[in-house]
Every structure is written in C-alpha cells, then in structure tokens.
Amino acid sequence: MSIKVHIHKSHRQFTDGLSVVDSNGKTVGECLDNLIKRYPGIKEKLFDKKGNLLNVIEIYVNLESAYPNELIKKVSNGDDIYLTAKLSGG
C-alpha cells in the first residue's frame, strides 16, 4: 500500500528536499508516524511535545480538508495527503 505525503515547502529541509514522500498506514496518523520514522526532524514541525498536531498545520486528503480529527481519518492505497501551514501575513 502506498500513500503519497505532499510535504510543505517549509518542511522539505527535513525530507532531504523531497516534495512528495511515499508512506503507508491505514490512517493519516499512521502515515505521518511512518513519515517521522524516516525523517525524524519533521516531527516538531507537525506536532507539539504532547503529540498533538500543531494548530498551524492543515491536512488535506485527496485535495479535501481532513479537519476535524485529521489523524484518525482513514486512507487507502493511492491516496494523497497534503500537509500545509496556515498563513498570517497580509
């Protein structure tokens, strides 16, 4: 099973510059765990010290918002997970 995780530009320094990383898992959370095992540096950019997804992070699955309860959202082979970050500038 392969799930593509699309890495936000600001996080690619932690994925060897890769914009898309193949992962696997039955949920978004499992796929992110798998991503973090391979690229541990990205963890603190996605989660706080208690393991909660940071408020600034938004997750989309197949171009649709996965909010709320993003981490338990089920995914299947061929799905795309997009990690984005809220912007505040104007």
Partner: protein, 249 residues
Amino acid sequence: MLTQNDLERYDRQIMIHEIGKEGQEKLKSATVFIAGAGGLGSSISIYLAAAGVGTIRIVDHDTIELSNLNRQILHWNKDIGSKKACSAQNKLQTLNPDIEIQGGDETITEENISRLAAGSDLIIDAMDNFPTRYILNKYAVDNSIPFFHGAVKGFEGRVMTVIPGKSACFRCLYKGPVPEEKSPVIGVLPGLIGCIQATEVIKYITGIGELLSNKLLLYDGLEMKFTILKINRNPDCEHCGHLTIQEDT
C-alpha cells in the same frame, strides 16, 4: 445611474458581456470594507477603486515605515511617517475622484467593528494577524455578509470566500491559537493575492462566475502552481455552526 463619464471610464469592463452596464451600476452602488491598508489592502483597494466600486472604506491603524515599501504599493517614499489610512485615502481618491473613499485610522476590535463596518455590503480581509481575522469573520457571519479572506507568506498565498449560510467560514478551520510571527514576503505576492480577492469581490457584487466558497485556493509562486482544496463546513464551528445552510436553487 451611470454618467457619461462612467461610461467612458469603465468602457473596457462594461464591454465584458457578463458585466455590462447593469454590472457597472452594481459596482457603483456597492460599499466595501477593506480591513488593512498594507500589502493586500494596497492591491485590493487600487483595483476596486479603478473598477468603480462606489464606496470604499479602508481601515488601518499603522504608520508607514520604510520596510513596508517593497509590497505596500499604495504608500511611497514620501509617505514614510504618515498614517496608512490617510495615505490610502489620498491615493485612491486621486486615482478615482468619482467614487467615495473613506479612510479610518483605527485598530479593529470586537468593540468597534460594528461601527467601522456599518453599511458595508461585504468585508475584505487584508489583515496580518489571526485574531483580527476572526473578529471580521464573526461580524460577517453574524450580519450575513460575505467575507473575502486572503493571506501571504514568502512566495505562498491563499484565498477563500465565505458566504454565510451557504459555505464554510474562516473559523470552520480553527484548531486553536497560532503564534504570531513577522511574515517574510516577496513584494509581488500580496499584489497577486489581493488581485484574486478583488476579482472575487467584483464577481460577487455583479453576481457572475463561480466563487471560491467552500474552497481554499493555494498559490505557490516558486513552483508557479495554483491548487484548489475543498473546505467543509464545521457543524460545531463557533461562528457559523448555528446557521442553517441554504442550498443554491
């Protein structure tokens, strides 16, 4: 009623089949509230003024600094030290003397938003922080007027149009407070994102096209890529969760 001067000034957009004289009259009759006269507010207000939106109210409490000038094209070197609201009002009124420009040198708060936005047909987000955006979104939802969100950072921007009672609102994506930061930004970015917001406003006022409602448009300037993401209304949303969603007929 359009004047002969209006017909000449707006000729190229009146020629657009979807706008015509009827659409131009709608623009002339409209009152818009622009929250912020910085990077986004500059491009939004310039193009709405040029398009003939009848009344533009633009509010900002800031003073112009040298470091603003890479992107805030309403303000020039000679304006450093002046208030943004005053500079914006003067420039926009000079650009188009046939419309009404109202500048407001105030900080937008929960207490004064009703007064500042009174009589506006819609609200345009040109802010640089989340707390004020939520004040604007709530006012828009409570008063059933559209809210046009835009935000920028680096080479990346986003746009979303909120139609209360019909679409997800800006608060529907709220997960909790986000740390404030000083955003880096390439100067052309708020120009482009502001133009997209202004396009949404013109479409809404004239009743044409398809809006970015229930959608989030992401722009990546480095890869020159636009992505449209689907946004879902949150039934537990603090701002719009109580509304009954109206389906388009």
